[in-house]
């Protein structure tokens, strides 16, 4: 299976989940409720009720988005540079991103169930997973770009080939 086919399949699954959500009847307060005294400020209301019609659709939605994002990044590596180490690195990066998402969603579901959460570094634990985990899981891909730059993203041979192309095009322009 080519990577573009996987990207297309993931987009279709995301579209399917989105259609499922859009066609359901949203419960009252699905996007929050106005604060009774302070205008322009909304309250979350009953978080569990919000998910009553769509269940874990957001959870599966984000899993697909993570896989889609990683697949798009993989598409950015020139095909002839994609090797075993690259695939292992991507699998590790995706696993980390999915782990973060599972921890975030699990913590949130647990909060919805019993109304309690642990506060770490000044914020609820699931919020910390969002702040640092969701951001950090793709910082891992940013760092991979930095450390593997010459191996995958601008190999010296590719840079030389580009310089040769520039010279060739200049010669053609001068000849014309």
């Amino acid at each position: 299976m080519k990577i573009i086919h996987l990207i297309f399949a993931l987009l279709l699954v995301i579209a399917g989940i989105t259609i499922f959500v859009l066609t359901g009847e949203p419960p009252t307060g699905a996007t929050g409720v106005p604060h009774p005294d302070v205008s322009g400020l909304s309250l979350g209301g009953d978080g569990a009720e919000k998910l009553s019609a769509i269940g874990r659709a957001p959870y599966y939605f984000q899993i697909c988005v993570i896989l889609l994002a990683a697949s798009l990044l993989y598409l950015g590596v020139p095909p002839h540079r994609r090797d075993h180490l690259l695939r292992i690195s991507f699998v590790a990066g995706i696993t980390f991103a999915l782990f973060v998402w599972i921890m975030l969603w699990g913590g949130y579901e647990s909060y919805l169930l019993n109304g309690e959460t642990t506060v770490v570094f000044g914020f609820p634990a699931p919020t910390n997973w969002m702040f640092w985990g969701i951001w950090g899981s793709f910082v891992a891909f940013d760092l991979f770009y930095v450390f593997a730059f010459r191996r995958y993203f601008l190999h010296p041979d590719d840079e030389a080939a580009f310089e040769a192309l520039v010279r060739e095009m200049e010669e053609e322009r001068e000849a014309n």
Binding site: F8, L12, V21, L41, S42, F61, V119, V146
Partner: protein
């Protein structure tokens, strides 16, 4: 020092604007051709490019609208910020190298030039330029209005300018913006971005420290108040819920590299190998500056819900109210300068790509050649574009809201498939590009014009972007692949 608060703020803002004017004059001497005006002759170093990319990404929306959204709806909007690491990764994995290579080989000056080089289609170039112009007008109008409103609020606090009008404030701030953009083009734009990026990082870092000290118990005490009063707001999806947050993550994370004012800056670096240093600097610069968005919003919400502060008259008052009440006057001065920096760094990028669309891309798509004396017309178009945007900003509030909201989603939905995927997949076709841009514009316009309410507050821009991506790949897969020009084919192998 408290009695000098307004003069201190004014001093910092005036000093900042003075620097912008000085950079404009300095850059004028380095701007000798349209290539210098639009892409800085592809000669910028990594520090300049990285700060220009991040400061263009984080507009006035991040410094004013962001804290306002957190105040109003809790953490829902933070998904627009935490996706930045993904957004910059897609930019550098997928387009930074190819866009820079094509710019050099084809002497491209704009994103529509790149689209034409890739697809060989004048229609695709025209649609891309038209999309950019539409989005730019909306975005620019909102940025110009934001500059005017902020300047008016600062000046109104002084005795001398207590009754200054909005028109006068818009005129003063626009004059500075127009001056450095017209004289120095993109060179002035990116070097002011450098100053603006540094100011934004300093402002972001200092505000977080201040915000953490508002309550004796720091952020934990603020969190305790929010958990007691609501709870959902301080949890990861805020009051709007998971689908709204996650659709924003998709739109802003995967859509960042489709923003033309960001992508254009990726073709300006001196060396391809500089990308290695540019990416991490961009990511970390952005995250420090964006901390203002999170911290001010949370603290103001906790202060109001905890009955410590009075409710704000509007959500966008969150950042100005925080600065005028809780920040040290010098910090307030730095942050207000940072606020102008955030607005202007985005506005100057829009002016540049908008002017390129008018005098370079659209004539090339229609007449197959650009205008004579492009540099003169580039400067003229920059002035006209600024004046039109300022007129729109002052004359029709509803149109601004419509066009402003239209901006990011329009760019992302129309350009992500065409540029991000198209530059990495040889089978992508011109017909698919035209269809994807057209359909994304239709969906975005329909949602905005008819004010369609989407269940679960799912982003309209996300729906347009998802549709255009599916359409783009689906149509390209159906079509028989066509041979690419030799140079583009070889670049896409690298």
């Amino acid at each position: 020092m408290e009695e000098y608060r307004q003069p201190i703020i004014l001093l910092f803002v005036a000093a900042y604007m003075g620097i912008c004017i000085w950079v404009g004059l300095w850059a004028m001497r380095r701007t000798k051709s349209a290539g210098d005006f639009f892409v800085a002759g592809r000669g910028l170093g990594p520090w300049v490019v990285s700060l220009a990319v991040f400061s263009s990404t984080l507009s006035g929306f991040g410094f004013v609208g962001g804290p306002g959204l957190v105040y109003a709806t809790g953490l829902s909007s933070i998904w627009m910020a935490v996706c930045s690491a993904l957004g910059f990764a897609t930019g550098y994995y997928l387009i930074a190298k190819r866009i820079r290579m094509i710019a050099e080989v084809r002497n491209a000056m704009s994103l529509p030039d790149i689209v034409f080089a890739r697809y060989g289609s004048d229609a695709a170039r025209l649609l891309t330029a038209g999309t950019i112009l539409l989005g730019v007008l909306g975005y620019l109008a909102t940025q110009i209005l934001a500059m005017g409103v902020v300047l008016q609020s600062i000046l109104a606090g002084t005795e001398m300018f207590a009754n200054i009008s909005l028109i006068a404030s818009v005129s003063i701030s626009s004059a500075v913006l127009i001056f450095y953009c017209v004289t120095g083009g993109i060179v002035a734009s990116v070097y002011t971005d450098l100053v603006q990026g540094i100011v934004m990082i300093i402002a972001g870092a200092l505000v977080v420290i201040t915000a953490a000290s508002i309550f004796d118990g720091g952020f934990a005490e603020a969190t305790g108040i929010l958990l007691a009063e609501d709870g959902e707001d301080i949890m990861p999806f805020g009051t709007l819920g998971p689908m709204a947050s996650l659709s924003w993550y998709f739109l802003f994370g995967l859509g960042l590299a489709g923003q033309p004012h960001v992508a254009t800056k990726m073709m300006m670096n001196r060396k391809l190998s500089d990308n290695k240093a540019i990416l991490p600097m961009t990511v970390f610069g952005y995250v420090i500056a964006a901390m203002l968005w999170v911290s001010v919003g949370i603290i103001m919400r906790a202060l109001v819900l905890g009955d410590v502060a009075s409710p704000l008259s509007g959500a966008d008052e969150a950042a100005p109210a925080f600065l005028s009440t809780y920040a040290h006057p010098i910090l307030a001065g730095v942050v207000f300068a940072g606020l102008f920096a955030a607005i202007m760094s985005t506005a100057d990028g829009f002016l540049n790509i908008g002017a390129a669309a008018i005098i370079h891309d659209i004539p090339k798509a229609i007449r197959r050649r650009s205008l004579e004396n492009e540099l003169f017309w580039a400067r003229t178009a920059t002035i006209i574009l600024s004046l039109v945007a300022a007129a729109i900003a002052l004359s029709s509030g509803q149109l601004i809201a419509l066009l402003g909201a239209f901006g990011w989603g329009t760019f992302a939905a129309a350009l992500v498939p065409v540029v991000l995927i198209g530059l990495n997949w040889k089978q992508a076709s011109a017909r698919a590009a035209i269809a994807a841009i057209s359909v994304s514009l239709l969906i975005n316009f329909a949602i905005q014009i008819w004010q369609i309410q989407i269940p679960y507050a799912i982003s309209g821009g996300f729906l347009a972007m998802l549709t255009s991506m599916i359409l783009f790949i689906g149509l390209s897969l159906i079509e028989k692949p066509k041979a690419l020009p030799k140079d583009i084919d070889r670049i896409m192998e690298l």
